[in-house]
Structure formats: C-alpha cells, structure tokens
C-alpha cells in the first residue's frame, strides 16, 4: 500500500519522467507474466500458433471445403454447395488415376535416386574427406539452393535439348540423351531436391562414431557388409527425413514437368490447368497429394523413424 503513494510524489522530482514510467510498465508486465505461467505461454506462442492454425491449417480447410463446391459451366465462377461429384470424377476417370499413379511413381524414383546418390557422398564427406575437402563438398551440395528455380529448370531444359550438351557428350559412345520426358523429369527433380536428402544423411554419418566401423572391420566384415549392417540401420531416420522432402516436393512440382517433361501430365499440371477454370475440381485433385503424403508420414511414423528426429 505504501508504494503507490510514494511513486506519484517521486515522479516529478526524478529527472527523466518518461524513463521511469516505461520501466514501470515493463516491470508490471514482467511481474504479471511471472505470476501467470499460462499467460506467459500464450504470449510466447500466439504468433506461431496464429500462423500455423489460422493461415496454414485454415487455408487447407478452405481448400478441402472448396473441393465439394461446383463451378458455373459458363462463367466458370465458383458456386458454393455440396457435391461429391469432383471426388467421384477424380476416382473414376482413368486419366486422373493414371496421372496420380504416374506422379507417385516419379516421386518415388526421385527419392530413390537421391538416396542412392546421398549414401556414398555422405560416407565420403563424413569419414574420408579432409576438413577442407569436406567444406568444398558442403558448398557444392548446397550450391543448387543458391540459384533461382526457373534458372535451374531452364538449364536442364537446355541440357536435354535435341543436339544439346547431353547428346553431344553421349555422341562418342554412339548414344543420345533421353530427350524430354519422364527420365528427364526424374533427373531434374532429383537435382532440385538433392540437398534436402544429402544434408540429413551427411549429418547422420557424422554422428556415427568411427570406432563402430573399426569394430565392424575388426570382426571381419567387408566394407559393404559394414555399410549394410552398421551404417544403413543407423542412417534410416536420416533417409526417411530426407525422403519426406524429396517425395512431397516431387509430388507437388509442375513447372519442371512443363519444361522437361515433354508431353507427360502430372498432378501439378492437372491442378494448374483447372485452377482458373474449375477451382473445385483442382481442390479435389489437390487433396490427392495431401492424402498420399499423410499416408507416407504415417508409414514413416510406424517405422519409428520420426521418433529419432
């Protein structure tokens, strides 16, 4: 009780009046937060939760709702309502099924390709290379992240061009490049998303103590047996973490498909071609990759890999 009566008297005499009042509010806020842990937590998490809950999950819910709406056939304006027609269509039209399966196949191929490349690279960087070489490799892996997406895709378009650099390289062997199509798309996507696989695999390799390898070879295991029985089981979480990125990013991509995919159609291109003319159908088809990724995450969780992340 005594404190409030002193403060108003002291305020005019102490020189920087504004200063005391500011620290006064600060004090009061911190006292309040100290007394109420729940408020403290709310203040801390309000912004990220608003972002995650309202903007991110909210937009996904809106997308899901739109999938049940229809479109005016003439003006292509979205008409709210409720119909399962869009889902029936994507589940019954062979072109949509084929497109979905093809896209999943491409995403799996990209993931496998990235994993196969990341294993020896991670092993070399973590266990063999000198710190200097390791730094150079680390820069090399992350280099693709520095350039613009379109620049990278266009350079691959030029690489696969008829009579382009790849054809020229293969000409002495009497071969030609694959041209635009599924193969070109898988290679391009693997290039685009490789850093997301390579970095976790490399960090996981770093965490495996060298003496595990020594012990394995002391017990008579050949190098490949060591990789198979020691390294890969320990690397599994890293591979799964990396594969979530490579798989889901490949599933959603459509620009690379347009530039190096030739005439093939993927989930992304179908969504893109419907997004203006028939948004509900695009929304319905947009749930396909979400469902696939949720299933993928579920399988990853079942394997126990996510716990170790």
């Amino acid at each position: 009780m005594a404190v409030p009566t002193i403060e108003p008297e002291a305020a005019p005499t102490s020189a920087p009046a504004s200063d005391t009042s500011r620290s006064g509010t600060g004090d009061r806020v911190s006292r309040l937060l100290h007394a109420r842990p729940k408020l403290r937590l709310t203040a801390l998490l309000a912004l990220p939760l608003a972002w995650l809950g309202v903007l991110y999950i909210g937009s996904l819910i809106l997308l899901f709702i739109t999938a049940f709406w229809t479109t005016d056939t003439f003006t292509s304006k979205v008409v709210p309502g409720f119909t399962l027609e869009n889902f029936v269509e994507i589940l019954t039209v062979p072109a949509y099924q084929l497109t979905a399966l093809r896209t999943i196949g491409i995403a799996l191929a990209v993931t496998v390709l990235c994993a196969v490349l990341a294993l020896p690279l991670g092993l070399f960087m973590a266990k063999v290379a000198s710190p200097r070489t390791r730094a150079i490799f680390a820069i090399g892996i992350t280099l693709p992240l520095w350039a613009g997406y379109l620049v990278k895709v266009f350079s691959w378009r030029i690489t696969f061009m008829t009579g382009g650099p790849l054809d020229w390289l293969l000409a002495p062997l009497g071969m030609t490049g694959p041209g635009y199509g599924t193969m070109a798309l898988v290679i391009t996507l693997a290039y685009l998303w490789f850093p997301y696989m390579a970095v976790p695999v490399y960090s996981a390799f770093r965490q495996i103590p060298d003496n595990l390898f020594d012990a394995s070879s002391d017990l008579g295991a050949r190098p490949w047996a060591t990789v198979r029985t020691v390294a890969i089981p320990l690397l599994k979480p890293a591979f799964i973490a990396g594969s979530i990125f490579t798989f889901s990013l490949s599933l959603g991509d459509y620009i690379a498909a347009q530039f190096v995919g030739g005439k093939i159609q993927v989930i992304g291109t179908v969504i893109a071609s419907n997004i203006n003319l028939n948004p509900p159908l695009a929304a319905a088809f947009g749930t396909v990759p979400i469902v696939v990724v949720v299933l993928y995450l579920f399988l990853a969780r079942k394997s126990g890999a996510l716990k170790q992340l």
Binding site: W69, D72, F74, P80, F82, A95, K263, N276
Partner: protein, 401 residues
C-alpha cells in the same frame, strides 16, 4: 493412443462438411441450356470526364509498354503526360488467369482474347462500351467489328486491338519443303512422329475440329467452337492420336521458340510472334496458313464493370486505338492491327500489315477466332446442346492422359 490422434482429424472433417453444407445446396446456374445467353444489365458510360489519376490494366505482354522492357517500345509515357493518368500494368499469362484477375475488381481494363471475353460478359465482370466516346473506333477494320466474342444483344463490349492466326510453324532444316496441310501434325504415321509440338490448352481442341471439318465432313462440324458430344468425342480421338506422335506441348511462347529453333520440334502450332522471335535469333523457322484453315485469336480492350477509373480507362482505349499507337502495339507484338489506318503512313506499317494480312478479309475467312465454347451452339443449331468449356477442359486432361 490412436483414438486421441484420429479424433481431432475426424472433428475437422465433419466441421468442414457442415460448413460446406451451409453454403446452400442448390447450385445456381446462369446461362444454362435455356435459349440465349443471359447477360447482367450493366449501363455503359455516358461521358468521359476528368482523369482520375491512374488506370490499372491487365494485358498480354507487349500490349502496354513504357520502354522498360524495350527502350524502343514506349507508348505509355506520352499517354501519361497528355492525360495525367498513370498506367499500372499487370501482365497476364493466360486467358484464364486474366478472367480471374478481372474478377478481383482491382483492374479497370483487360486485353481479353475471344476465349475469355464471353465469360467476362456473361459473368457481369465487364461493362458495355459506349463507342461514341472512342473517336478512333470508326477506323477499326470491318472484319473485327461486331464479332460474336465481343458483341451481345447489339451491345459492344470490346474495342478491338488486333488479331492473328495460329499458324503452322516448321523448322526449315527438318522440313525442307514447305507444308500446305496440317496432316503431318495429325497423321499417326507422320514422318515427324516425336517431333511435333502442340498448344497446351483446352482451346486447342478447336484446332482438331478445324482439321476434322476438312477431312471428315460427315461429322457435320460447321464451327469448331460448336461441338456436340459426338463431335467432341471425334476431336478427342484425333487429339489422342496426336498425343502419341507429339514430342511436346507448349503454353509459354519462349519455350516454343526454343523448341522450334533448336529443332527439338520439327513442326507444330505456333503464333507468328514466335516465328518472328525465332527468325530474329537466327533460327531457321518459317510459317504457313495451311489449306484446312486454322484457329486464331482476336483481342479487345474490355472495361471492368467495377472500374474505379472509367475516365482514364476510356482515354486509354481511345489512345491505344489510334492509328499510331495501334501500329506500335501490333508491330511490337506481332499481329495484325485493328485500326485500318495503322496500315498506312509508312513503309514499315505497310510491310507489317502485308505480313500479317491485316486488311485481307479473305485470309481471315479461313481463320476461326477463339470463342468460349458454350452450351448454346454458336453455329446456330438449336436441336442439340453443345459442349461447354469445362467439358473441353476435362477432355483435354483425358487427351494428355
């Protein structure tokens, strides 16, 4: 363990179902299969007053240039100085995107192609135009006046900018002899199998219909934008055959330039501007209007029904329609200008108009301008329902597999 995780998801799903149900269960249809096209009644402007200070335009690349992309192309600066209207340009990539942008109500003008314009008119997104307020309107070439895609119930909704045909382009190294038919791009046994490029849009179905008109008259197609179910099925069949021999689909002009110049594609559908760019870069590319005819496009300025700057918008439409500016736009973009006077006055203008057959109505009689396919058959048939653009979009997905 498992139920606690599933429960929120289930709640979420049922909540969204309830929300969706609230939206009203009877989907409204406007312009359904009941006679003519219903158009919202929107009044046209009666006078052009003081400038509002700015005008917001959605346009194709090359239509609204202030010298920033190419110092030689600038017809915006002078307009801004003379009228006091600052021009804000947004480049639209596709007709569908332009329609979406116009629906936001943030833009005053759009350079709409025929496949977008009917949608905009029927959707009440654009207002009729009082052509008396556009002095240069009188000089528009005859073939562009009162077309189906911009005139409805006697009201004009668009001020023509220019037009062009979707020509057959070919790489002269791969195709030494100039073709005169689309056959090589459709025949399953084409000698150019794997090297054919096609346009990636549902509207490309009309190209198949144009070819069918010439080769399968028994189908009874008289207008490639008025296809009943059977006719659409025949077009889809033809397109599926083409899919087997196509090397690539394009919807980005620069991608098309790289394909046809490098020889990745030997021949296929393209725009004259693509041929021009390719030739400018030294590519061995030529174009031809085949004997079967072709599809094409005609663009018009349309004013938003919600325009906040109608005075500046009218001033821009008149400015862009003047012989001088229209010639610049047409030459910069690579199309036939809409203003007949844009073909006179200089050797450059005359040559450009000759290249693009600007005043040659016989040439454009073979060209079917993009029109939004609607249920009311635009060829005048009343005993059948035609397929609409949404059905075309679905069919296009099916074609690409």
């Amino acid at each position: 363990m498992k139920t606690t995780k599933v429960l929120p998801l289930a709640a979420l799903a049922s909540l969204s179902l309830v929300l969706a149900g609230c939206g009203g269960s009877a989907p409204a249809t406007s312009g359904g299969g009941n006679g003519g096209i219903q158009v919202p009644d929107i009044p046209a402007a009666t006078e052009v007053g003081e400038s509002e200070g700015e005008v917001n335009i959605v346009a194709w690349a090359g239509f609204v240039e202030d010298g920033s992309t190419n110092p030689d192309a600038d017809w915006v600066t002078q307009f801004e100085e003379e009228t006091g209207c600052t021009v804000n340009r947004k480049v639209g990539a596709t007709s569908d995107e332009m329609v979406q942008l116009m629906r936001t109500g943030e833009y005053d003008l759009v350079s709409a192609s025929g496949d977008a314009s009917l949608r905009l008119i029927a959707g009440g997104d654009v207002a009729p135009i009082n052509t008396d307020l556009i002095p240069n309107f009188g000089n528009i070439v005859e073939g562009l006046k009162g077309q189906i895609y911009d005139t409805l119930n006697g009201k004009s909704y668009g001020v023509p900018i220019g037009r062009g045909a979707n020509v057959l382009m070919y790489n002269t190294e791969a195709v030494p002899e100039a073709p005169d038919s689309w056959e090589a791009t459709w025949d399953p046994n084409s000698e150019y199998a794997g090297e054919i490029m096609a346009y990636d849009s549902p509207i490309f179905i009309a190209d198949a219909a144009v070819y069918l008109m010439a080769t399968q008259p028994e189908l009874g197609i008289t207008n490639p934008y008025a296809l009943d179910k059977d006719q659409l099925a025949a077009a889809v069949e033809l397109l599926k055959g083409q899919n087997k021999i196509a090397g690539e689909y394009w919807n980005d002009a620069l991608k098309a330039v790289s394909s046809i110049s490098s020889g990745t594609a030997s021949l296929g559908t393209g725009w004259q501007v693509i041929v021009n760019i390719a030739q400018g870069d030294g590519g061995k590319v030529e174009s031809v209007l085949p004997k079967e005819g072709a599809t094409g496009w005609s663009d018009t300025w349309m004013i938003s029904a919600k325009s906040k700057n109608p005075n500046c918008a009218y001033k821009w439409m008149d400015w862009a329609s003047s012989a001088e500016v229209n010639a610049q736009i047409a030459q910069n973009f690579g199309m036939a200008p809409a203003n007949a006077l844009a073909c006179e006055g200089s050797k450059e203008n005359e040559e450009h108009c000759a290249t693009f057959h600007a005043t040659d109505e016989d040439y454009y009689k073979q060209v079917w301008m993009w029109t939004t396919p609607v249920e009311q058959c635009v060829d005048g048939r009343t005993d059948v329902t035609c397929t609409n653009y949404q059905e075309w979009t679905k069919a296009w997905t099916e074609v690409k597999g």
